[in-house]
């Protein structure tokens, strides 16, 4: 539910409640005033009659109207004081039963007691009540109508800057080169939101930059000592040394190799994130892919892998030559490394996608984690754990969709060129 809908509902309920309550109160106040007026009329009628009797010692001739009529009857009892009451009586003028206000009093005319009842119709009060209900219902209807119109036409416009901000946040990626730069808004709350977001991304951005340059520098700084170690082990190998010593040195060599590769991969990742690549090269994907497969022929052969190729010729992409090479390299290396001996590797390329599928002995890899850095399905594996993270990252900046599927005991990696 939208905030405004929620607010609107509460607001409308409160308004309707207030209106009903107000109308009820209004009714009672009016009723009170009108009743008093009615009594006043009845009383003045009483005085007129009393006055007439005192002066003329006879009852006045009674003039009935449609809304007011008087009945006179002889009475034996005497009312101590005039009596007001509500009653349903027959209105001779209208010829129907009517709800009336009555004033009954007794009067002594030449020794004879008369009970005089003055009736006044309450029709007007009822009309009033009807009117008030009508007005109330009308007002509520109007409120709902206006709310609907405001919701439709105005609210979306008022909230537009908010949604603009949300869109910006959605498309914001920490590796974007710029922190968020949201505009100033005349609405205080939106402005506060925008300013806070600007400040927040600004500081995140700075921290991130610092972290990135740290990664980059650290990796660079480590290459030189690694170069020293490698050159020294190479010199050591030239000495006249025992088999055991040679094996130890080669062990060191392996370590250097891994460390160096790890650094290079990390650097590459940082570089992909840091650099604004322009994808304006026409990369001959078919040719490049075939060439890379050829280069790795021995590696496929060494594990007795069967390659099934289905490469459509002349597939060209608006891409980046070096990134394309890295992408293909990493996918192929990954496949060679994780396909079991004597397995089958299928490589397909067409206008839409590049797909690499290989047989698997194990179950599906963790789809959530497979593209994460340093994720390895088994800890003893030889790779850097960065290959697929690099593939994913290249895909991200190039606007490709990189997908992993496990189907029929096959790992399937697909890169969709168009999203």
């Amino acid at each position: 539910m939208k905030l405004f809908t929620k607010y609107n509902r509460i607001s409308i309920a409160a308004t309707i409640f207030t209106f009903v309550l107000g109308s009820i109160a209004f009714y009672f106040v009016l009723d009170y005033v009108l009743t008093r007026q009615l009594k006043e009329t009845l009383r003045s009628e009483q005085f007129e009659i009393i006055h007439f009797v005192e002066e003329h010692h006879t009852l006045p001739e009674i003039q009935n109207t449609r809304h007011q009529w008087i009945t006179v009857e002889k009475s034996t009892t005497i009312l101590a004081k005039p009596l007001f009451k509500n009653a349903e009586t027959f209105n001779p003028g209208e010829n129907e039963l009517e709800s009336v206000k009555q004033l009954a009093f007794t009067i002594d005319v030449a020794g004879q007691h008369f009970l005089i009842t003055v009736n006044k119709s309450k029709g007007e009060t009822e009309d009033l009540l009807k009117l008030i209900i009508l007005v109330t219902v009308g007002m509520i209807a109007l409120i709902l109508l206006f709310n609907f119109i405001i919701n439709r036409k105005l609210v979306n416009r008022i909230w537009q800057p908010f949604y603009t901000t949300i869109d910006h946040i959605k498309t914001y990626h920490i590796s974007n080169r710029q922190p968020l730069q949201l505009s100033n808004e005349p609405i205080e709350e939106l402005n506060l939101l925008n300013e806070s977001l600007n400040t927040m991304t600004q500081s995140i951005h700075q921290d991130y930059q610092a972290l990135k340059s740290f990664t980059e520098n650290a990796s660079h700084e480590m290459q030189t000592p690694l170069a020293v170690i490698r050159s020294k082990t190479e010199m050591l190998l030239q000495e006249n040394i025992s088999e055991e010593a040679i094996k130890q040195i080669i062990g060191i060599e392996d370590g250097i190799q891994k460390l160096s590769r790890l650094h290079q991969s990390l650097l590459l990742l940082t570089k992909i994130e840091n650099t604004q690549f322009t994808f304006n090269e026409n990369v001959e994907m078919s040719e490049l892919l075939s060439q890379k497969i050829e280069e790795k022929k021995e590696l496929f052969e060494s594990k007795h892998l069967t390659i099934e190729k289905n490469i459509q010729p002349f597939i060209t992409l608006q891409f980046h030559q070096q990134l394309a090479e890295i992408l293909i390299n990493n996918l192929l290396s990954n496949t060679i490394r994780y396909t079991p001996e004597n397995g089958i590797v299928t490589i397909e390329l067409d206008e839409e996608k590049l797909m690499v599928r290989n047989t698997a002995t194990e179950n599906s890899l963790d789809v959530e984690k497979i593209f994460q850095r340093f994720y390895k399905a088994q800890q003893n594996q030889e790779g850097t754990g960065l290959g697929l993270a690099i593939v994913k990252e290249i895909g991200r900046i190039a606007g490709f969709q990189v997908q992993y599927l496990f189907h029929n005991q096959h790992h399937i990696f697909t890169i969709y060129f168009k999203q």
């Binding site: 030189t224 170069a227 190479e234 040679i246 290079q264 590459l268 590696l299």
Partner: protein
């Protein structure tokens, strides 16, 4: 052959000088920018091994200096940075090759040899060693005047061995030379053993000596005089 090694890391410089001197090069060295410029002004080198990040200036400035002064020294950049822009900028400024640290000395040696071969004009595209005769332009190898029928990888392998003759070359160094940086199979060297075995067989069949010696399958050495 005269080399200038411009490298500020002392320990690395020492190894470079030791390895390359033993390969028959005359090595001079410079540990910072000014020293390097001074030497380059005074002498001509067949090849300069150039670090990019130097105390006192950038290796790229040295390249610019060489270019401005129309010096024809061969240059191989050795840098901790694997940055593509540096590579492109370096090559644009006239560097002949680019090697990222940490590199194998044997790899550097092969690249230097290739640069020097390219720089020299008359006839030096031939390498002669014992019973080997290699034409590096036609990429043909003769053993005792018999042409060896080598695959591209075997040819590369042989050249790598000959240039680093009498050196123990680790399997890592060899694999990386043949398959480049994306060769990361420290767990499986079978394909390497196969290539070496085949090369060995071809040399012996052509009447050459069994000169490739295995060092417990961890490394190999080509024994030539």
């Amino acid at each position: 052959m005269k080399l200038l090694i411009v490298e500020d890391e002392l320990a690395l410089k020492e190894s470079l000088i030791e390895y390359l001197s033993a390969s028959g090069y005359l090595c001079e060295s410079a540990a910072n920018f000014n020293e390097a410029v001074e030497k380059i002004e005074l002498y001509d080198y067949d090849c300069i091994v150039l670090d990019i990040m130097l105390p006192g200036g950038s290796g790229l400035q040295i390249l610019q200096y060489l270019k401005d002064n129309k010096k024809t020294d061969g240059v191989i950049i050795v840098s901790a940075k694997n940055a593509l822009e540096d590579k492109i900028k370096g090559i644009e400024l006239g560097a002949d090759d680019y090697l990222t640290k940490p590199f194998h000395l044997s790899e550097l040696s092969v690249r230097i040899a290739a640069i020097i071969r390219r720089k020299q004009f008359n006839g030096q595209s031939f390498i002669e060693h014992d019973f080997f005769y290699i034409d590096t332009i036609a990429k043909t190898v003769k053993v005792n005047n018999k042409i060896l029928d080598l695959t591209q990888k075997e040819y590369q392998l042989l050249l790598f061995f000959i240039i680093n003759k009498n050196r123990v070359l680790s399997k890592n160094a060899i694999a990386q030379h043949l398959w480049g940086d994306d060769m990361d199979y420290t767990d499986n060297y079978d394909f390497l053993y196969t290539h070496i075995k085949n090369l060995r067989k071809k040399i012996i069949n052509a009447g050459g000596d069994d000169c490739i010696k295995s060092m417990y399958r961890e490394g190999y050495k080509m024994m030539l005089s």
